[in-house]
Structures are given as C-alpha cells and as structure tokens.
C-alpha cells in the first residue's frame, strides 16, 4: 500500500526527495567516510593508503562486462568491503539530447559489477551538433534548460540500478543571461527529480575565483540534505583564472570551503581527487588526514548540541 502511494506520488507529482547514501554505505562506520579517486597509476598506493573508506573510479574506463574483467585492484578493494563509486564523465546530462541509452546501460553495468551504492555524473554538457568537447562544459541556467536537464536526469534514474548524484562543475567562462544561480538550479533539480548531489568544494573555489560567487551564499542555497558526498581537489592559477587541474596539492582555500560545508551538514563522504602528477603516498595521506581532521572537528563542534548523536 505504502509502495503504491510512493509510485503514485512519483508518477503524478514527479517529486521525490533525494536519498543519498549513508556514511555507513560508504564505509564510514556511521561517521563521514573519507575516500580517494582510484586511478590505475596509483592502484597499489590506494590499496595501501591508511584511512581510505571508499574510492571512486572513472566509469568509462572500466571494463565491466564480467566481474573477472574488472581491474584486479578494484576486485581486491571490493573483497575488502571498500565501496566503489562509478564516476561518469561523458554522459552529458546537461546536453540538449536525451542521454544515450548505450552509455546509460554501460554505466548501469559498471555500477552492478562494482556493487556500487550510487553513481555520479556532472551538471555539464560534453557534446553538441555532432562535436565532442572532450571535457565538461557549463550549461545555460535558464528555466528552459532546467526542464531539459530534469527530464534527462529522470531518464538516467530510470536506467540506473542505484541512485544518481549530480556534481557542480568547475568553469572557466559563464553563459550570459543565466536566470538562476547554480545553487538555485541544483535545488530545483533536486526538487523535481530527487537526484542526490556531489558537491565539489574545489569547484566552488573555482567559481569564486573565476566568477566572484559568494561561497557561503552558494552553500546556503544548496539543499544540503541531498548531498551524497563531496569532492576535494587541487588546481592552479593561470591566465588570471583558477584551473581545476587535479594535478596540484589541495590549497587551504578549498579545505576552508569543506569546513564551511561541514558547519552546515555532515556529508556522508568526502573524496580526494588526484588525476595526474601523482605525489608520494605520504603526501596523499597528509591530504586525507587534513580532510578527516575537518570532519572530526565539525563532529566535535556539534556534539554538545546533539548530545553525541550519530551523524
């Protein structure tokens, strides 16, 4: 009966609330989980790093036709119970076209093979007019785009076996005539589709440097109950703009935004992204420890009000 009501609600109102994974589903044992992006160049390092509760893998790069075809390192991590989240980069859910069923089917296969608690993608477009961008590009934040993206998200949700989380992108340029802020746009998408959010605090830093956004206001505009997990990454200034390279150390400004976020909510997980110029393991461990420290301090600071309630 309750199930029927839920289905009717979803069919008629098309309004669902997000159900991001718990910290426990990401290996955080009831507290915020800490993770790192698994990359083939650092697979052994990731396996040995202390304090890794979950990992993320670029979904397009994994052959998941059969469990035996998964990279051995991911099988080792799964055997240990480490959660693996497929992170898509080429769906283009912010594009004008409906999501490609073949790409969605592949993403679903990867999620199933990895027994993933969720999958994530970006609020971005990656192709148009038969051309490939080769990277994530921002979309015009208009009511018209909102209708297209909400429908694209629903199509993706229907094709995926697990919840979808959508990430705020890092951008170098802005569309003219945006009608909504990014926070408003994401909140509307959450409201309309029940999609979860992957909040990249390095991308919020990028938006602050490149477009002058007020990060505190941006965080306040987000429906924080929808946050599934958080990205942290490094970048660099060049040509007067911040480039979100994932190839440089995480700057203090990015960690400060993580602290601001953790003052407002307890994210189920926080994940460090490093894609190139890989440093020695102790440097990665240091960045993971800094993330853990911010989560712990936020937990302690709210403990008196909540009488030590589990996060």
């Amino acid at each position: 009966m309750f199930l029927v009501v839920r289905i009717v609600l979803r069919e008629q109102l098309v309004t669902t609330t997000p159900n991001p994974p718990t910290a426990a589903a990401l290996g955080g044992g009831g507290f915020g989980a800490v993770g790192i992006g698994w990359r083939p160049e650092i697979d052994l390092t990731v396996e040995r790093l202390a304090g890794v509760d979950f990992v993320e893998v670029i979904a397009e790069n994994v052959c998941a036709d059969h469990r035996d075809h998964l990279p051995e390192s991911l099988r080792v991590l799964r055997a240990r119970g480490t959660a693996v989240v497929p992170h898509g980069v080429s769906l283009g859910i912010g594009g004008a076209e409906r999501p490609d069923p073949a790409r969605l089917a592949r993403l679903a296969t990867v999620a199933t093979a990895l027994e993933a608690p969720l999958v994530s993608e970006h609020l971005a477009f990656v192709r148009a007019g038969g051309m490939e961008a080769g990277h994530l590009l921002p979309i015009p934040r208009t009511r018209q785009t909102l209708r297209v993206v909400a429908e694209n998200i629903r199509i993706a949700q229907d094709a995926l076996p697990v919840p979808l989380a959508l990430e705020n992108p890092a951008t170098l340029f802005a569309w003219p005539d945006n009608e909504l802020t990014e926070g408003q746009f994401l909140a509307e998408l959450v409201e309309a589709t029940g999609v979860s959010l992957l909040i990249d605090v390095a991308n919020l830093h990028t938006e602050r440097v490149n477009h002058g956004i007020d990060v505190a206001a941006a965080l306040d505009a987000l429906p924080l109950e929808a946050v599934a997990y958080v990205h942290v990454a490094g970048g660099m200034m060049r040509d007067g703009v911040w480039h979100d390279t994932h190839a440089h150390p995480v700057p203090g400004e990015v960690l400060d935004i993580l602290g601001m976020l953790c003052e407002r909510t307890s994210p189920p997980g926080v994940l460090l992204e490093r894609d190139a110029a890989f440093p020695p393991a102790d440097e990665l461990e240091g960045e993971l420890a800094a993330i853990r420290g911010i989560l712990d301090r936020a937990l302690q600071s709210r403990a008196p009000q909540k009488s030590g309630a589990a996060r």
């Binding site: 289905i7 159900n19 051995e72 051309m131 018209q144 209708r147 998408l189 703009v241 190139a276």
Partner: protein, 178 residues
C-alpha cells in the same frame, strides 16, 4: 545499502524554502513540466554555437566573454594534447620545436573525434600532418605496423592464454579522466 529510491519525507519542502527565492516565477509544477521539443532545439542551438567557437574555430556567440572563451579553447586543446602525447609519444620528438604549437593550432579548429578517444585524436592529427606533407619520418615509422611474423602453429594462442591465466588488465584508456 541505501534506502529505496523515491522515499518521501517532509524535509525537502522546508529546505527548498530556505533558498531565498520567493519571486521564483514557477513553483514545483513549473520545474516538473516535461521538456518540449522547442526546449531541446533551443538548447541544442545555443550549445552547438558555443562548442563551434570552442573547438571548430567558429565565431564566439554574442554575450560571452571572448577572453574567457579563448582560455577555455586553449584548456580543451591542452587536455587533448596530453592525451595525444600518451597515445603517440613520438610526436613530441618528431616535431621538435613545432610541438606543441602545431597540435594546439590544429586542435583549436578541429574537434576531437566522437569515438576512439586520444588514439583517434592522434590518428586524425597525424593524418592532417601527412596531408600537409609535414608528418616527420620518425612518426611515420612509429605508425607503420611491425612486420608480420609467420603464422603460429594451431593451438598457439590457446597455450598463450593458458599461460597467462586468461588475465585481463580490465582497463580501457579510451576515455580520459576529466
């Protein structure tokens, strides 16, 4: 591991009210309405015009900051350059001082192939150089398949597979990380 999709609570309503957007012209019904063909056509037109400027040498659409579009164009080409260099490292040495300028100039006006990742990008670039008559001999040699060995005896591949334990690396680098 997680609650089933579609779990309904009352919290969402309260939190979305905290967005501070009282003059939103449309309530939940507005954002829930289905996208029309006109919505998709207009978005396609906007995104295609912008992408043409970024990867195909098109005119920057009105209203955009031309300098930022230039920076984005270079960033996209630079990302492709790194992928192409991994796929065909001989390009840098073969082209010498012309690398990476020749690639960047080409990539800013030639979109990345829709399929095949950086390997296809490298193949398209070398084909362009060959058509221009500027493909270095060393790169041409690197692209030439190694001479064929005599056919192995029947059952050879089966024995190789057995020896390797049918192990797969499980890694496909056709798509780069973003």
């Amino acid at each position: 591991m997680t609650a089933p999709p579609g779990t309904t609570t009352t919290e969402g309503t309260e939190d979305t009210e905290s967005l501070g957007n009282p003059e939103s012209p449309e309530g939940p019904e507005g954002s829930e309405s289905a996208a029309t063909d006109a919505d998709r056509d207009e978005l396609a037109r906007q995104q295609t015009a912008l992408l043409a400027a970024l990867v195909a040498g098109g005119t920057v659409p009105a209203g955009f900051d031309a300098e930022r579009i230039r920076i984005q164009t270079i960033a996209l080409a630079a990302k492709r350059r790194e992928g192409v260099l991994r796929a065909l490292p001989e390009l840098a040495e073969g082209l010498g001082e012309r690398w990476p300028g020749a690639f960047m100039d080409w990539a800013c006006t030639h979109p990345k192939p829709a399929e095949g990742g950086s390997r296809a990008d490298a193949a398209a670039f070398t084909e362009y150089l060959r058509a221009q008559g500027t493909l270095p001999q060393s790169v041409e040699e690197a692209l030439t398949p190694a001479p064929q060995h005599p056919l192995p005896r029947p059952g050879f591949m089966a024995r190789v597979r057995a020896a390797l334990g049918r192990r797969s690396t499980g890694w496909d680098d056709s798509d780069d990380t973003y």
